[in-house]
Subunit: 351 residues, 2 copies
């Protein structure tokens, strides 16, 4: 019988954090790609454009004028998917037709006054300001809402319509679907094994090493065993931390520095401003914030779409939408490639 | 208090077939779109290209020469994600690191010898040949494998790398993730309510009417109450049918005709060859095929990405990947637009 090798033999892996399976078929990277390539990136973004609604001093869609901000800048999304005062659809009349009220707020956070930088090109102390702003907005909106979703869509490929460095914050009156799944999985793991799922997972990955990308005094970055996107990563604190506001000053500094390193590696992989969606998950907030959420461990997910080059992405289509996620290289191969990349940004000239 | 209106007030809806929630924020269609637009479609595809591996008489990557086929043509995918003989990864050493064996086959099915047609431009009897080929391949591969996933990726936007009309068939030794969810949901509904979930759902939609797109003697097409993609539809037989091979000849003819109508409406919506991923779900097959699967009802899902025009798609990114699917128009609005469209294809000149 042939010996199993993950890089040669397809198999399925289980995601215990979100209760999902992925098909790993690494031998598929051998097939030639004749499909759609993405348009090349706009490389010259002006540092300041008075018509860009995210720039300091610009006028937004609702007529408000942005302040001449010098660090981060948080404001209400002019086209929010969630509003604070939507009426309830009322009780459902049938189990197959269930609708519920959804209330919330949507904010936009600019990372920097300049449009021509991205997080990996910002200084560690500028990134630290972003980390602090994330912690504050979680605290502020978390006082009222049970879930505060911070996420960044980076790059046109990820539906981002503005090159100015920014993220979004959507707070909701309900626990969104993915949060519910992570809640269920982490709660079950804790009750069965007596410790948080992601604490044990981080410890195991430190021992096994093959999926680690970066480690620092307070943080780990790894390609999860169950990663779906080609170069997906998980960013975890070493200490048991439930939510962003709990991070100490040392942990925030260290986070800023490890984020800069990770995002530099990402940009270096295909020598492009690497597109991704990323977001933070921590224990639920709102009126139940005081309950026992010790099964939760704070973490960030990075989901980048690129597979082969700056213009060839992974399409999550047919089989993935109808049956099961499928990946074309192993998480271990992805981690190895990311590990080997320099921590100095290719645009800064030292390779 | 304001009266709830689905088209004005955001709310969440539950998908009882796949146990998922979607955020419906119809007022979001008001926002202007300044993001990525898709490249315009290649409109002139040659009818026959001897270098296209899907054409009759062409030589494929493995050196095999295609026959001069005149109807449908089924062959083994030259770059399969699933192979029949992969060894097993062996027992897992830790609950957070679970991997299992995955075996199967991947086939490609050409719908027609010509590269410049698509299903809506084919005749009803040519489509009927495709339906028959789908039923046969389900029977053939279902003899050995518990799940036979038929799916079509149409259009470059959906990762399809060849314009020749075709679909894929991936049969696996395991029940894929989405199949597992539908199995769990349909089984639970049957045991609670004593009838198949999708039989009751189809009946309800026939009564409520607002989400119906097309009805025929044997079939229904509707935008499901819980649709995620802007113009997503569900295609259902009226009779309780568990798998494709069970369809009668009359049901197959009627299916061919309603598919032609649906896909013509799709093309007419933005006057483009409408991209989508679609696929069939039916009761599991393989060695357990004889068990009681009466809770299953055969159905096809259509997942088209376009939102505003032939070049502006819905991006399922940040919030959708990290938190919950979100849609920008109600399923009722989508159904109304599809209903109003002509059943004659815009390229055939009669509007
Ligand atoms: O097999 P194809 O058509 O080359 O590939 C396409 O469909 C597959 C199955 O949905 C996906 O995994 C690929 O990402 C996509 O590009
Ligand atoms: O809010 P934006 O950046 O205009 O929109 C982008 O992010 C949203 C949240 O992930 C998505 O719903 C949109 O499809 C996407 O284009």
């Amino acid at each position: 019988a042939t010996t199993f090798r993950a890089s040669e033999h397809q198999h399925i892996r289980y995601n215990p954090l979100q209760d999902e399976w992925v098909l790993v078929s690494a031998h598929r990277m051998k097939r030639p790609w004749q499909g759609q390539v993405e348009p090349p990136l706009l490389t010259t973004v002006p540092r300041h454009d008075p018509h860009n609604p995210l720039c300091p001093g610009a006028t937004r869609a609702n007529g408000e004028v942005n302040p001449d901000y010098e660090g981060t800048f948080l404001f209400d999304n002019d086209f929010p998917a969630l509003q604070p005062d939507a009426p309830s659809p009322g009780p459902s009349d049938h189990p197959l037709f269930q609708a519920e009220a959804a209330r919330g707020v949507c904010k936009v956070m600019c990372f920097h006054p300049w449009s021509d930088v991205t997080l990996p090109l910002m200084s560690v102390s500028e990134i630290r300001a972003v980390v602090d702003a994330w912690a504050s907005v979680t605290e502020e909106l978390g006082a009222q809402y049970p879930w505060v979703q911070i996420f960044e869509n980076k790059g046109a490929m990820m539906g981002c319509s503005n090159p100015h460095p920014h993220c979004q914050v959507w707070a909701s009156s309900f626990l969104p679907d993915v949060a519910q799944r992570e809640e269920r999985c982490q709660r079950a793991y804790q009750s069965q094994h007596g410790e948080p799922l992601l604490m044990e997972y981080g410890r195991q990955e430190l021992l096994r090493k093959e999926r680690l990308v970066l480690t620092s005094e307070h943080w780990l970055v790894l390609v999860p065993f169950w990663a779906v996107w080609p170069f997906q990563t998980l960013l975890l604190p070493r200490r048991h931390v439930r939510r962003l506001p709990e991070l100490t000053s040392a942990e925030r500094d260290d986070l800023s520095s490890i984020m800069k390193k990770l995002l530099t590696k990402y940009d270096n992989l295909f020598e492009t401003s690497f597109p991704y969606s990323m977001g933070w998950h921590g224990a639920p907030t709102g009126s139940e914030a005081g309950a026992n959420w010790d099964h939760w461990q704070l973490h960030a997910h990075y989901y980048p779409p690129l597979l082969r080059s700056a213009t060839v992405r992974k399409f999550m289509v047919g089989y993935e939408m109808l049956a099961q996620a499928q990946r074309d290289l192993t998480p271990e191969q992805a981690a190895e490639r990311l590990r080997a990349l320099p921590e100095v940004h290719y645009r800064l000239g030292q390779k």
